[in-house]
């Protein structure tokens, strides 16, 4: 006959084996691992809004996504534009001065702050750090209509791949605006920098934020746009900058929306690569962009891109209409995106 007492004993024994922790007490962290290099995402000092900007967050108004500008500029005479990189939105060289380079970088959330970046550069130039008072006293120039700190530093440059380079000069303009900091930097041999400083200033003066020229700014006409919502998609609340937002019912975390910007909206290449950059992916070359599949949208072939960022991703479509550009974006967990792919394509094709 089965006795209850042994069973109870065994049950108590099993509880002892399972064990349980104590809440609230200090628990030592014993897991440790060494990485040969930091993870890419650990290098970014992003604020809460930037960290969570994405499908489920409102990207209008105060979100960091909206605060990230899309820059356009006029290329100075004699300069050559290179392909952008993950960190460099603008990347330039000057054929007349081979050792000279100029870059435009946009970092979300302040990119670590003005003082930290300026002093990091000064360290690269072998110069002592500036105090807050020194930084406050730096001359200001106009960048995107705002006052940006400007600095020119002579010294031995150690930030390049060729080791310490004496006789170098770095010129930089930094705009620390809410949500994103913009860095325009030129570095090279002193004589070259002095010769091109006028062009550098002209580049800074020509910078413009094309993301601010959407419907809210009155640049694009979206009132006549029509579409057919795929089965299972429900229209979301109206949001700033967006023509319409849809939320697929069976794909949690997925959101699809249409934006119309005047002109090129920053350009096909810049937008596609900005999207890829948001997922830590390298930019596409012109050949790769030309090879992207197209969909017939609004009577024209529109480029479609599928960005697999691992956990999450983005399906995007850019339809250039000449005076304005239509963007359709669907973001969310990658698995859900794949499930909604055909409906996304059908939705894009239904635009009229």
């Amino acid at each position: 006959m089965l006795k209850p007492s042994p069973i109870l004993t065994a049950a108590l024994l099993s509880f002892a084996v399972c064990g349980c922790g104590k809440d609230g007490d200090a628990v030592p962290i014993d897991g440790k691992r060494v990485l040969v290099a930091p993870r890419p995402e650990q290098r970014m000092a992003a604020g809460t809004k930037m960290r969570f900007s994405g499908p489920s967050m409102d990207s209008g108004g105060g979100s960091a996504q909206a605060a990230m500008p899309t820059l356009a500029w006029d290329l100075p005479a004699g300069w050559m534009e290179l392909a952008p990189t993950q960190m460099r939105t603008g990347n330039f060289s000057v054929p007349a001065f081979p050792g000279l380079e100029c870059t435009i970088t946009i970092l979300p959330g302040g990119g670590g702050g003005l003082a930290a970046n300026l002093n990091r550069w000064r360290k690269q130039m072998g110069l002592p750090a500036l105090t807050e008072a020194d930084i406050a006293a730096l001359p200001r120039v106009k960048l995107l209509g705002a006052d940006a700190a400007s600095i020119v530093m002579d010294g031995t440059y150690s930030g390049g791949q060729e080791g310490a380079s004496p006789g170098f000069t770095m010129a930089a303009v930094v705009l620390d605006r809410p949500g994103a900091a913009i860095f325009v930097k030129m570095v090279g041999p002193t004589a070259a920098v002095r010769a091109e400083i006028g062009h550098f200033r002209a580049l800074c003066a020509s910078l413009r934020d094309t993301s601010a020229t959407g419907p809210a700014a009155g640049g694009a006409d979206t009132g006549s746009m029509k579409w057919t919502a795929p089965a299972g998609w429900t229209q979301g609340p109206a949001k700033q900058m967006r023509v319409v937002t849809f939320v697929p019912k069976d794909a949690p975390g997925v959101e699809c929306y249409v934006t119309v910007l005047s002109g090129t909206g920053g350009g096909l290449t810049a937008n596609l690569n900005r999207w890829r950059d948001q997922f830590g992916l390298p930019p596409l070359t012109a050949e790769e962009i030309a090879a992207l599949p197209t969909l017939p949208v609004l009577g024209r072939p529109a480029r479609m891109i599928e960005i697999d960022g691992g956990k999450s991703g983005l399906f995007g479509l850019v339809c250039e209409l000449g005076t304005q550009t239509v963007f359709v974006k669907m973001t969310g967990p990658m698995e859900s995106l794949r499930a909604e792919r055909e409906r996304f394509i059908a939705f894009c094709k239904s635009l009229s």
């Binding site: 089965l2 006795k3 007492s5 042994p6 004993t9 065994a10 049950a11 099993s14 084996v17 399972c18 922790g21 809440d23 609230g24 007490d25 200090a26 628990v27 030592p28 962290i29 897991g31 440790k32 691992r33 060494v34 990485l35 040969v36 290099a37 930091p38 995402e41 650990q42 290098r43 970014m44 000092a45 992003a46 809460t48 809004k49 930037m50 960290r51 969570f52 900007s53 994405g54 489920s56 967050m57 409102d58 105060g62 949690p252 975390g253 596409l284 050949e287 790769e288 090879a291 992207l292 599949p293 891109i305 599928e306 960005i307 697999d308 691992g310 956990k311 967990p333 698995e335 859900s336």
Partner: protein, 386 residues
């Protein structure tokens, strides 16, 4: 007292206990399998097969049942007491004893696998290399000093230490390697960040985590947590949110250094790196269904590179880890790169089922052979007498 222990031993070694335990195991196998139509395989495994007790929902009626974990412990005790210690030991029972030992070895192997195995996946694009793999279900919080380059030491808090936090409870984690304590205040197995006003929960910088129902497939859950960084130097506590799909980890400045705190699926480092050189797939004729697919990889350990092909029935075995070809992903652009996914398993007891089956088979063969010989001898005697 001796009588008490004798009664316990008798109960634990009884055939009745074997019958009860095996009956419950059969019942739980049935209800656990049926439950998979309603919830995920992972959740069923956790609730029915890895627990001591489970409350089964029988059409709205809660039915308490012992969990398979408890039943297997009882079965092991029953086998030791009844099948090895108590059993009559003579030449006729050696086969049975050996078979019982084989079953115990199998149960031991299951325990080793449950406690110490590592299972996850490694996904690589052609030309990329990695030396760590990611769990499908388990979570971790990783804390590291933010650096631009060079080696980084990550402190890791595994999910088993914070995912089961009861409501209203907190867990404070500390280490001499960091200048702060991390307090995990509230954990959601599946959640989504929303503007604080829409979530109904307290937010951080206007963002709140909103709990969501578990996904049908547990690997699609996205965990999140409210945390607080408490500087040891006594500065103000810094509240924060962690979410497994966040684009960047939480970043805090404490005592002049920047630290990152991120929540993600648990990651394990491999003692070797794997680089995907090429991926190939073969389709069933006239369909888009994959018939076979394989990957050419370069495995590098201690600076020694070795080319290896991993296909569906040909895994890569190295240093106790096994990499199986489990999936692939087509390039999203023309001329883009294929991505290959490998299931990675480290199971110290992966050969135990084979060995235990050999032992059980040997024990049963011995037992049946003895029975046969005894029967033949009896028949022979009967014929002689006839």
């Amino acid at each position: 007292m001796r009588r008490f222990f004798t009664r316990i031993f008798d109960a634990l070694s009884s055939t009745w206990l074997s019958i009860v335990v095996l009956s419950f195991l059969l019942l739980l196998t049935v209800v656990g399998t049926l439950e998979q139509t309603r919830t995920s395989l992972y959740e069923v495994q956790r609730r029915y097969f890895e627990s001591s007790f489970v409350v089964h929902d029988l059409g709205g009626i809660p039915v308490p049942l012992p969990g398979v974990y408890l039943l297997l412990i009882l079965l092991a005790i029953n086998l030791v007491c009844g099948g090895i210690l108590r059993i009559r030991k003579d030449s006729t029972t050696w086969g049975v004893i050996i078979a019982h030992v084989g079953i115990l070895v199998m149960l031991g192997g299951s325990m080793v696998e449950y406690r110490w195995s590592e299972k996850g996946h490694l996904s690589l694009a052609e030309g990329s290399e990695a030396a760590e793999f990611t769990s499908y279900y388990e979570w971790e919080i990783a804390i590291a000093e933010a650096r631009d380059r060079g080696p980084v030491t990550e402190l890791v808090i595994t999910g088993d230490r914070f995912m089961q936090l009861a409501k209203g409870k907190t867990a404070r984690f500390t280490s001499p390697d960091i200048p702060f304590d991390l307090v995990v205040q509230r954990v959601f197995p599946n959640c989504e960040p929303k503007p604080a006003e829409s979530g109904g929960s307290p937010g951080v910088d206007g963002i709140a985590l909103v709990e969501m129902a578990p996904e049908k497939e547990a690997e699609a859950d996205v965990a999140g947590a409210y945390v607080e960084v408490r500087p040891k130097s006594g500065g103000a506590a810094i509240p924060g949110l962690l979410w497994a799909l966040e684009r960047f980890p939480m970043s805090v400045n404490v005592d002049g250094k920047r630290w990152t705190i991120g929540l993600s699926h648990r990651r394990w480092q491999l003692p070797f790196s794997v680089r995907l050189e090429d991926f190939r797939q073969q389709l069933h004729p006239g369909t888009g269904m994959a018939k076979a697919f394989e990957s050419d990889v370069t495995k590098t350990r201690d600076g020694i590179a070795q080319k290896v092909k991993i296909s569906m029935n040909q895994p890569l075995r190295e240093s106790g880890y096994t990499l199986y070809q489990s999936g692939f992903q087509q390039p999203s652009t023309r001329g883009g790169k294929w991505r290959s996914t490998f299931s990675v398993v480290k199971n110290p007891a992966d050969q135990v089922p084979l060995y235990s089956c050999i032992v059980i088979t040997a024990g049963l063969l011995l037992h049946f052979a003895q029975k046969l010989l005894r029967h033949m001898r009896t028949q022979k005697t009967m014929w002689r007498r006839a």
